[in-house]
Symmetry: D2
Subunit: 349 residues, 4 copies
């Protein structure tokens, strides 16, 4: 079996677990008042080239929902792409933590919010309009939920529209590493310098184990968020074991190395399937995911070949590359796709 | 320095981290659909001698608040001891996850709810009374927040009062292991057989690292809770790393061995300080905590001797024993207390 | 000026205010424990030919949101037409009172939910699926937000799909009177006999003044709802003044007489504009609202003629008939529409 | 029967209902965009001698809970007297609308918060302390829930402590009229000039019918509150009928005349019962309520005499005077109390 189901089906990077185990020494104050967590603040400030507050949390859903609740009042509207993870896959955690805030899908290609569409959408909620709530924040998924990556200019354009209306910008960076690796930019360029106020900094999908983080650039919201995290059950008493993981994750560029590997695997597959008849990519392959429209029967055939992946619809399949996916595994998928798409549908069945 | 600040300042048991590291092999479905989590269900069913649903969560606060939200409607009152952790130390997480449910403190000694007091308290909320809400659930902390342990009969008595009114019973078992170890009973006897519907099963304070668990005995609430956990950001995508910890925790009685050690340390100290003039225990020392009223100056003197602990008030100090506290460390505290309490207050300063 | 802006811009029926004033005699227990409210229960039981609980509330938004919160857990999905008032016009009150429940639009014509579309939509949320939440309830607006009326069979078909999945059905009856008057059925036939569990019983838009009501058919949810209403600030201490209004509203068929009048006005206009070139009705005119697509310039011309109405878009206008709209006012609108639509767009500008 | 059960068991002042009926003319925009509501803003600005935003709401519970939610984050603590209405009688509406905010009782006599006790209480929550939440707001009930009235200096002292910590001050003025009438001060002096940020302006208990109001002095919170009111179902579409009531209420000093009448009745009773043996006032009688500790048997005897009132405990009775209570009714209560308290308990039974 070759597993393309998700990047969260994969292993953790050994470096991260090693760090966790090494933190198991002596006593340390609870709830983040330990040395590991203090150092984590410094390391992230270095990484992002500015003062930040970083809060380890157990999941990306917690990171997203608590970030949004921190920047949007309960009567707020959060604009996102219809395919955004917060809209499709988190059981409305944002609405829950946000006290009933509402997600407002806004169109765009490849899982991105389009800045012009956003402008038009915002215009439908003039200030003082009460019946539908008021715009409060923007959510960008980077890399997107369809495997594309916003360019720096695209992020800046969306943020500019948001700022012009006084809205905060949240980036769901479950695959932030993949986006940074792809763009070759700095973390600062892709976040606060582009207008991002708060970032869900993903690690789990990229070789992490049990924690992600919230990185706050708009520091005025950090103290309130700290209490919300406490009451949200997101402040580990033995926080050092989380902070140690996150430090290892960014140490010596590990996070970008891992993301580079999974990106490369996806790129290799994308290149390999170029021109296969009957196969269509739903969006550019710019991170570690491929969304492929396949001819009838091909998904069954792939499964028969031992490939695991998710069916998004009768004809749409998602393939996710883990950091430790091998070239051989990538090539095997290419070969299988090539073989089955070449056949008439009937034969494939 | 000898650290008596908390059991969460301590290390994790190596067995637990070993298990976490061993789980880092191959791929596994996310969000709890993995083999580790499936086995966890079986192991906990064995441990509790009945069908249960067990949900790993990141913290005790998450376990408590989500448990209460699962058994109480948002207009419900949850009765607890005034010293209960949910009332004093969780930033009203129960009120938050519970949609505005309210904690109703009810008196009792040693951090326990007294069954008769509970009866009286409930009588003040006759059915149909709307202005103050309606009773919905009972919260017991076992071991209590003052270091005592409910006997089986005490738990049963409280549960009987609750059941007579149709209320569910939640046990905050952040130190459930210490209580079971103390009582020498089975986990089943101290939980569902005594009337407990849902249990916060603590591990962190007893040698765990990054997870506790919710154990559901009233299975009709489990499916709803599963979704609430998802939207609460409490379902790790790489759940195997949490489930593996919890399995190691209960494997071969590790949890009870660790709790026995910290209990024994507290007992050793309690025995050693017996009869020291001017020193008063706030409650019986039945688990791994000592709450001591001390003469003026003694707390300063202890700190000068290198002991770390929490001051609960000007005269009340809390000492918590970790599973790896040594006899020598226990004896050192006894000696220090004996020495400083014997002196006139002045000298001690 | 002739006002077609809304049915809530209109006067109250004098009978209703008379009843309110007549209730101002003697003392009466507060919070609904008065005789007026007791009698209201009986009258509504008669009206609906079954045991009900009826709760006066101040607004339709309160009625809708609290009804949905009563039948859906906070992790629930409530399926509604995209044009549903709860989705477009209540500032996400349902999400707020529902603790973060989410509205899930499902397609259908004329503002209705289509039973087959609902089946398909539900199939996308198989039991056990956690990431998107679980279906919990259905919301029907009757009459619909586009001025159409569900037939009895259409309501039954939607309810059947709901029941097959174990979902509760809420009817937003802000214009329930208009629907009953249109269909010529009994209130029972259009509510619980068709599968409705809880009804927002509107009065304000149909000659009421300051209250609507929630009518509960599934009595097991009524006690919890009573407390929710109390904490929602929806239980007037001088409830008699609300109950008296509602009794007058249904006394001697007043509610159906008023609805018949506003329906008739809309029908008269609809008949009058039949065949006007360039004018298109968005949906059948079956209650008291007309949604008309108009040629460019016509809306300006109508306003110049002294008509007030809402522009839903550059080409879509909404006209709402009040119970006291006169035939002359209706005919004036017809004449104006006929005149301006006949002209070339240019001239109309 | 003579009714002392509550001031909400009473009639509405005819002037208020007259105004409501007079508002029933012509059409008017919905949701507060009408002329009555516009004028209401002006009148209240005059009344309070400053710019305000005034929002009619259906109940005092709505006014209180939404006011607190507007000035406290969901993780906030709201300090109040243990006897405060928000703590004892509103089904935790504050916790519900406030997203899980928590009430923190602080001691004081006669139902008041004592400024020094408040200082001490706040000191227990140093900034940065997370486990118990952070102080956010203060709630004063004026007149208090025990029938006393804060002096201007007492309000100022509490507000000064609050402001020193950066906390907002909410006044629950369900009986604000009684307090103003008692103190002979201006509404401005007792509200914003004394440090109040937001006021629940009660009318119902003082001759109103179906609405109270929120008066906002800290205007920066008004826009958010406006949306919250909308989603809370507290914005009547036919708002003119509420605004007209409130205008009549303050017109020509009606509100103070009514409050003066009920205050005078209570004062008359208090004077009449002076020196009756075995009878003890729980607090000074400064508004329209008397809380009396009575000898055994007296409550039964009063009821046998035809008096209606509430038993707060086996020995504590509450008597509330309505604006239309007559001197004869007041004197009858005095006579009855005098007669029954004079008798030995036995005879009284």
């Amino acid at each position: 079996m070759i597993d393309y189901r998700s990047d969260n089906t994969g292993r953790a990077a050994p470096e991260i677990l090693d760090a966790l185990v090494r933190a198991n020494e002596g006593t340390a104050l609870g709830y983040g008042a330990d040395e590991w967590t203090a150092r984590l603040q410094e390391r992230f400030a270095d990484l992002f080239e500015t003062r930040v507050r970083v809060f380890p949390v157990s999941t990306g859903t917690a990171a997203n929902a608590l970030s949004l609740a921190a920047i949007a009042p309960s009567w707020g509207l959060v604009f996102c792409n219809p395919a955004a993870h917060i809209n499709t896959s988190e059981a409305n955690a944002a609405g829950f933590f946000g006290g009933g805030l509402k997600l407002a899908p806004v169109a765009g290609t490849d899982g991105k919010i389009d800045a012009d569409e956003l402008s038009r959408a915002l215009a439908a909620f003039p200030p003082g309009q009460l019946h539908r709530g008021q715009p409060a924040a923007i959510n960008l998924t980077q890399a997107t939920d369809l495997g594309a990556v916003y360019t720096l200019d695209e992020v800046r354009a969306v943020a500019a529209v948001a700022k012009a209306r006084g809205l905060k910008v949240h980036m769901d960076g479950a695959r932030f590493a993949n986006a940074v690796a792809r763009l070759g930019c700095t973390p600062a360029e892709l976040s606060w310098r582009a207008g991002v106020d708060i970032l869900s900094f993903g690690a789990t999908k990229n070789g992490g184990a049990l924690c992600d983080a919230i990185v706050v650039f708009s520091l005025e919201i950090a103290d309130g968020l700290a209490i919300q995290l406490r009451r949200a059950g997101q402040v580990w008493s033995k926080m050092r074991f989380a902070s140690a993981q996150l430090m290892a994750y960014i140490e010596n560029g590990l996070w970008l190395r891992l993301a580079g590997q999974s990106n490369a695997a996806a790129t290799r597959i994308a290149a390999g399937i170029e021109g296969i008849p009957g196969l269509r990519r739903l969006a550019p392959v710019e991170a570690n995911e491929l969304f492929l429209e396949l001819p009838p029967g091909v998904m069954d055939a792939l499964e028969a070949d031992g490939f695991q992946f998710y069916r998004r619809s009768a004809t749409l399949a998602r393939f996710v590359c883990r950091f430790d996916l091998t070239d051989a595994e990538a090539d095997a998928l290419v070969a299988s796709l090539r073989r089955h798409c070449a056949l008439p549908a009937k034969a494939a069945e």
